[in-house]
Subunit: 368 residues, 2 copies
C-alpha cells in the first residue's frame, strides 16, 4: 500500500509551529545581557536564583521549598532516590507514565497500580489497598490531563487523597507538567496549595509552556527535603543548566510565557476537536473521553482488536501511536495513547483515516 | 583586623572577564535561527547530534562512541553507575578531585588511592597495588593539570598505564576537562588516542572553554558502553539540554571557541606567573610546581602549619582556599589547593600577602 510519510500520534511533544522560537531567541539575548555572571557561572544545585524565586511566587511558597532541575524527569529521579528504598510500597495510577513505572521498578520499589477513572485515581480502591498493604511510602499522581489517559483528578478526590495521605502518612507526589495547558473548563487547585500537613511534593516543567529542549523542570516540597535533594543534586551535576534556566527566567518575566501558553492552548483545543470528530467519523466503536487540556487521549477499542497487531497494521499504513500496554503492568491489550500535541489538524484527519483502515484490515482478517 | 572583601582561591571557575559573553549571545541567536526544531525539541539522550559529531571529529572517533551530557560530572555519575558495583576495587590518584572521591565512596566502591607525583600517578605503585589487590574495575586519572595538584601525566607513564590496563583488564577513566587550556609546553596525546585495546573511557567538558553555566560535558568510549549509558541517560532525564548543546555547537563551529581558549590561556598564564612570584616573595618556604595549564596549584607548607588552623586564620584575613585534606582520604594536613582561575592578578598579589600574614600569625602563636 502507498506509504506516505508517517503521521505520529506517539510523541508527547509540541509541533514546532506552537513553539515561540523568536521569543526564546530574545530571552536568550536578555539572559546574557542582563545577568552575564549568573548565566555563565556554575550557580548552585538548587537552580538559577531568579527563576527559583519566580516559581516560588507562582506557587505561593518560600524559595527554600523549590529546586529547579534539568527537566522534571531528573526531579523525579532525585525524589525517588531520596524517598524510596528497595522493597518499599509505592502507589501509581493504572495506567501511568511508562518512564515513571520503569524508574520505580528499577529502584526495586513494590509498585501497586490503582485504577484511574475518568475523574482520577480511584480513592476508594486506594483506601482499601492501604488497609491491605500497610505502610505506603509514596503515591504518584498526575492530577491534570494525565499521561497517558488525559483524565483529570476531581476536586473532591484531591481532598480525599490529602486526607488519606495525612491519616496514613505517605507522600503524595503531585506530578503536574500539564497544569498550565488547560484549554477547557476551570482550573482546579493543586494538592500542594490545599495541603496543610506537608504531605505533598509537587513537580512541574517548562517543557510544555516554553519548549522541551530547554530541559527545565522543578520540585516544590518541604524545605528540609529540598535541602536533602540539593546535596544529591550537587554530587550528581554540581548545578543544573544556568544558561537554560536564565533563558526560561527571561521568558517568564517578559510575559512571553503567557503568549506561548495561549498559542499552545488554542492549538491543542482545535486538535482535540478534530481528533474527536475524526474518531467519531472513522472509528465510531472507539471509546474515549476528550481531555480538557494536555497532550494525550486514551482510546479503547473493541476487545477483539489486539494492540500489537494494530500497531503493525498501523505502521504499515504510516501511522504511529503508543500501545496502552506500555503504560500498564498488565492488561490494556485493546487500548492506545494518542498524542495530539505534535500533529496538525490535517495530519490528525489523515492519521485517523489510516488508523481506521488498520482496524478494518484486522476485522477483515487481512494482515499487513 | 580590616576585613576587605574576600579573595577566593577556592573556586575552580573562570572570572567573568575571561568568558566570551558576547560570543555566547551570538551563538544562542544562531542556535535558534539555524536549527529551531533541533534546539527546542527533546532530542535524544546521546546529545545534540551536530555537537556529538563535532566532538567525534575532534577525537577522531565515530559519533556512536560519544555521549554528550549535562556537564562532565553527570557523565562521571553515569559511568560509575554503569561500571562500578559496591565492593569493587577502584583506583584514584592521591590527591584527587573531592567530588569523584565522594561519589565513588557513596557507590560503595573500595577506593585505592595511588600517589600522584609531579609527572602523574605513580605507575610502579599502581603495578604493585594490582599484584596485591587483584581485579581492579577502573582507574580514575586526570592526566592534564590535575585537580587539585596541577600536575600532568608524562607520556611514558601514559603508555605504562595503557599497558597495565590491557594486561590487567581494567578501564582507564581519562578525566580530561583541562586539556585544551594548556598555556605552556607541548600538548601530549590523550590515552584515548594511544589506546589499541578499548581500555579507555574519556571525559571532558566545555566548562573551561565555553563557560561552566552551560553545563555541557561528554564521554567517549566503546560504542557498546555508550549505548548502555544511553539507556540510563534516557531513563534519568529523557535527553540532556538541547538548547545549551546547540549554543555550544554554534560556539564551536563559528570558531568562537578558539578565540575563547586563547583568551583563557593568556589570562591563566599571567595569573600563574603572578601567583608564583607572590608565593616566592611572601612565602618562600612554600613548595609547589607551577602548572603548565589548568586552574590549580598545589601548595605544601612546612609540617608545623596545620591547614585547619590556617583556613581559619586566612578566613579572618579575607582569603579563601580549599584544604588539601579535602582531596585525600588521609594526610595532607599542611597542604592546600590554590585556584587561580577566578582571581585577577591584583587579587592574587593581595591574596597571597594576606595568606602569608595568616601563616605568620600561626608561627607567632597568635590566633584569630
Amino acid at each position: 500500500m502507498g506509504s506516505a510519510s508517517t503521521i505520529s500520534f506517539a510523541r508527547g511533544a509540541p509541533s514546532l509551529d506552537i513553539v515561540d522560537v523568536d521569543g526564546l531567541k530574545a530571552a536568550a539575548a536578555h539572559a546574557f545581557e542582563n545577568d552575564p555572571a549568573g548565566t555563565t557561572a556554575y550557580g548552585t544545585a538548587v537552580g538559577y536564583p531568579p527563576l527559583r524565586e519566580w516559581i516560588a511566587a507562582k506557587h505561593a511558597v518560600d524559595a527554600s521549598q523549590v529546586l529547579v532541575t534539568n527537566g522534571s524527569m531528573q526531579a523525579d529521579a532525585f525524589l525517588f532516590a531520596t524517598l524510596v528504598q528497595p522493597g518499599e510500597h509505592v502507589v501509581v495510577e493504572r495506567p501511568t507514565y511508562d518512564r515513571t513505572l520503569l524508574n520505580l521498578r528499577n529502584l526495586g520499589a513494590d509498585v501497586h497500580p490503582v485504577s484511574l477513572l475518568t475523574d482520577g485515581i480511584d480513592t476508594d480502591e486506594l483506601a482499601a489497598l492501604l488497609e491491605h498493604v500497610g505502610d505506603v511510602q509514596l503515591a504518584h499522581v498526575i492530577p491534570n490531563f494525565q499521561n497517558p489517559a488525559g483524565y483529570t483528578l476531581a476536586l473532591a478526590k484531591r481532598h480525599a487523597l490529602l486526607a488519606l495521605a495525612k491519616a496514613r502518612n505517605f507522600v503524595i507526589f503531585e506530578d503536574d507538567p500539564y497544569v498550565d495547558i488547560r484549554f477547557r473548563g476551570e482550573p482546579l487547585p493543586t494538592m500542594l496549595s490545599l495541603d496543610d500537613s506537608g504531605s505533598v511534593v509537587y513537580a512541574s516543567s517548562f517543557s510544555k509552556t516554553v519548549c522541551p529542549g530547554v530541559r527545565v523542570g522543578y520540585l516544590v516540597g518541604p524545605a528540609a527535603l529540598v535541602d536533602e535533594i540539593r546535596v544529591l543534586a550537587t554530587n550528581t551535576y554540581i548545578s543544573p543548566n544556568m544558561v537554560a534556566q536564565s533563558i526560561v527566567n527571561e521568558f517568564c518575566r517578559s510575559g512571553a510565557i503567557d503568549r506561548s501558553i495561549a498559542t499552545v492552548k488554542a492549538a491543542l483545543a482545535e486538535r482535540v476537536e478534530v481528533l474527536t470528530a475524526a474518531l467519531e467519523r472513522e472509528l465510531p466503536e472507539a471509546r474515549f473521553t476528550p481531555p480538557d487540556g494536555g497532550y494525550f487521549m486514551w482510546v479503547e477499542l473493541p476487545e477483539e482488536i489486539d494492540v500489537d497487531q494494530l500497531f503493525d497494521e498501523a505502521t504499515a499504513r504510516g501511522v504511529a501511536f503508543v500501545k496502552g500496554t506500555d503504560f500498564l503492568l498488565e492488561g490494556g491489550r485493546n487500548t492506545m495513547r494518542l498524542a495530539y500535541s505534535g500533529v496538525t489538524t490535517d495530519e490528525i484527519d489523515e492519521g485517523i483515516t489510516r488508523l481506521a483502515a488498520a482496524v478494518r484490515a484486522i476485522e477483515a482478517g487481512a494482515t499487513a
